[in-house]
Subunit: 196 residues, 2 copies
């Protein structure tokens, strides 16, 4: 990486972290420049579209990083129920390690949607759709019919997102651990495709 690429990377990483901790509107360009240590002029050089362009890139980067870690956890798990419970534990540990500052990298921005730009809204929608598709793929592999898989994916994604929110508010891993345990129990009871 040359110097310009490093500066660009620092701007993206800092923005991702701020969006995760505090949302879109609390995050100003001055704070991004200050916390990243990047030269002020570099922001518009790398991101001529300003805060919106930078936010879309940042959501992209943090969503991808999250996805990589979650995929690894899911792949390592023995079965579907274990996979879901392990992901909840991973997210609980991450949140606690950040002193309950960093929850879902996309959620804070998602809930300010009424006051953000169409490009940021589209990015948020795209990331949730990707996560739901990844769950559908995993659940279908476990033998669920496609319609049941889609329902279960919505349910899993919703309950984990909500648990991340409650855990952040309560500054406690408990909501994520509880939801993980209950989702594992549900997965064990989910209908399977009839074997021939």
């Amino acid at each position: 990486m040359n110097k310009g690429e490093r500066t660009r990377q620092k701007l993206v990483d800092t923005t991702a972290e701020l969006l995760q901790r505090q949302g879109y509107h609390a995050t100003g360009l001055a704070q991004i420049v200050a916390e990243s240590g990047a030269p002020r002029g570099s922001l518009y050089f790398h991101f001529p579209g300003g805060k919106d362009e930078l936010a879309v890139m940042a959501l992209d980067a943090s969503s991808r990083a999250w996805r990589t870690r979650i995929d690894a956890t899911v792949t390592a798990a023995a079965d579907l129920g274990q996979a879901v419970e392990d992901v909840c534990k991973l997210l609980a540990d991450d949140l606690a390690a950040s002193h309950y500052q960093r929850g879902c990298p996309v959620a804070a921005v998602a809930l300010e949607a009424a006051a953000t730009s169409p490009s940021v809204r589209a990015a948020v929608e795209g990331h949730y759709a990707e996560w739901a598709d990844a769950i559908v793929a995993r659940v279908t592999t476990a033998g669920l019919p496609r319609d049941a898989a889609k329902q279960l994916a919505t349910f899993v994604l919703a309950s984990i997102e909500g648990a991340l929110l409650l855990a952040k508010v309560q500054r406690s891993k408990q909501p994520l651990l509880t939801v993980g345990t209950m989702l594992r129990q549900m997965a064990a009871m989910a209908p399977r495709k009839r074997s021939r």
Copy 2:
């Protein structure tokens, strides 16, 4: 209500709506004054603590209004599963009626917690705790042992919060309706206290 009380009420209602639609930081005092139609000077007259004091009062008012509607729905339902599903339908209809702008009255502010004041954070935490307690009370009445009731309450609250978020992002009732159906099925399978 005299003129001063009406002005105060308008300021609280407008703030509640803006916090619900777009969160804490996107909501400026100038916008509150403009959308409420209240005289500029009246804001600091009624709320000497400024935006934080007004936000706490607004979260209080909208949380109470939500609670009243949800309680009525729960009371009218035949059983626990029906109650949860009906609440999800109510929230889905409300969200759709607001063109997917108004989700949970507290969630957007909750996720900006890293950048809000201790008084606002405490208000948010208090409202979630109240909702969880209300669910525990209803679930215990349905015959669940207290530990199972607390787990189920966390799970119900988390999945409904997450579904509200996904429904807002996708501009669709579907996540709420799916979660409502699945929670009803779960409630039907929940353990009961042994009858004597």
